[in-house]
Symmetry: C2
Subunit: 298 residues, 2 copies
Amino acid sequence: MQKSIRKIAITGGTHGNELTGVYLINKFKTDPSIVKRESFETIIMHTNKKAIEKCTRYIDNDLNRAFGESDLTDSAKSSYEDISAKLINQTLGPKGVESPNVDFIVDLHSTTSNMGLSVVIDNENELTWQVAAYLKEKEPKVNIFRWKGDTGDASFVHSVAQNGFAIEVGAIPQGVIRADLFFETEKLVHHILDFFEKLNLGEVEKKHGSIEIYDYVELVDFPRDENGNIIAMVHPNLQDNDYVSIKKGDPLFVTLNGETITYDKDEVVYALFINEAAYYEKGFAMCLTKKKMIELEG
Amino acid sequence: MQKSIRKIAITGGTHGNELTGVYLINKFKTDPSIVKRESFETIIMHTNKKAIEKCTRYIDNDLNRAFGESDLTDSAKSSYEDISAKLINQTLGPKGVESPNVDFIVDLHSTTSNMGLSVVIDNENELTWQVAAYLKEKEPKVNIFRWKGDTGDASFVHSVAQNGFAIEVGAIPQGVIRADLFFETEKLVHHILDFFEKLNLGEVEKKHGSIEIYDYVELVDFPRDENGNIIAMVHPNLQDNDYVSIKKGDPLFVTLNGETITYDKDEVVYALFINEAAYYEKGFAMCLTKKKMIELEG
């Protein structure tokens, strides 16, 4: 595990209508002492400025899918978000080098799904998992979701550093700040900063043993007609029940006419990002996961 | 009260990201027999087609504020929504005449606020109030909000007919369908259609006596800094508590730094549209109302 942390970045507004991150960064900009620690530098950044201004997820395309290796090197990619991604990569990265400008990125998101306090991890780096384990120890209600991503490449904002993850909090509608989750998210940021401070001071012990995670299985789309129109909704029994077990025969959807569609596989799964607004256009109604224990390195 | 109803209109998607109405209209278009009654014609209509396609509230400006007398007659007004309003006015109105093309308009909305099943009325016409009274009798949990509007003119979609109102259901994030509220909204539509059928058949008795409503008092904006940036959020005690009484000293907001801001007037009020996403840009965090009984005519 990396021994010394020089710089970490807290980013928000990658999706301009996810206001928890936008306003936390506002708060930290107004009073940078809140996120200051003695042993390293904390960079705070609004990542998608135009989308924040317009309170929309993105201007041209999803910024949080614009950090693939090929996206960052393809000069033909020139949308607002493509250019933003390249600039962010210059500031916080560059991606893929051994020693990028920042050692860790926490990207703050919110979701319309009832995900509570979630950490979304898509890398296998030891430091990332140590931070997640620390966070779960401090706030046991935090859930850890290991996502392989939906683009087949690590294309999230935090991927420009070697280590990092996204924090997803919900349920929060797009374009809304909820005070309860605002303060809870801020608490997670403080725990993360404290972790790095302790790490630099040699006060944090490397965690061993196992940690509970929800591991990606598959994305499930809404039932649609031949023209792609959605013809069934998330079933009321499943709505708001992210991280609750689903077994064969449990309802997943209900059609507009009231017929129930059930889960028909044998494996017990747990749905996440249930009925997330931003994923209607991506073509999924939820992400199914398996609960498992994974071993921390060391 | 009007004795014979010839045509009524159910409209949805006036705000393209309020999916309850969008998908109810989809359902009714797929099977028009659902909204067919013997004694009158039911028109079903998506009002803001481009905004529905883009799943956004509006393209150029709020369609549900584009039906003022002056908006409809000013030929210089030519945004997408301005033109849409004029076309809708031709189809369902024209506004202001004694006998417009439809006798009643129900415009289907959703809100990120926890408004449950609400009827928003901004006219004093007897038929409108009789329908509202019938609806409340059938579904006692329906709340009636009398709003004077925020533009100083009846500029809502339903204003092009002599009678009508908006149905607001929530809490639903923008861009999301919730099955529970979808079916509850549909039930309200059926009650309304049944009312008109009974009215035409002489089977409905005119209601007398009084009815409980929430009456507009004032709009309250978020606390902001000198640049207009929001610096306080709806207080957790108030969040999700639409239609709950607020008295002097009760918390309204909490600043980003955690300081509480209280309600400081003597009059007991009830907040509605608490933390509605679409109203951040309009400059209000909630609408304060008084609970009162009003007399039905007759």
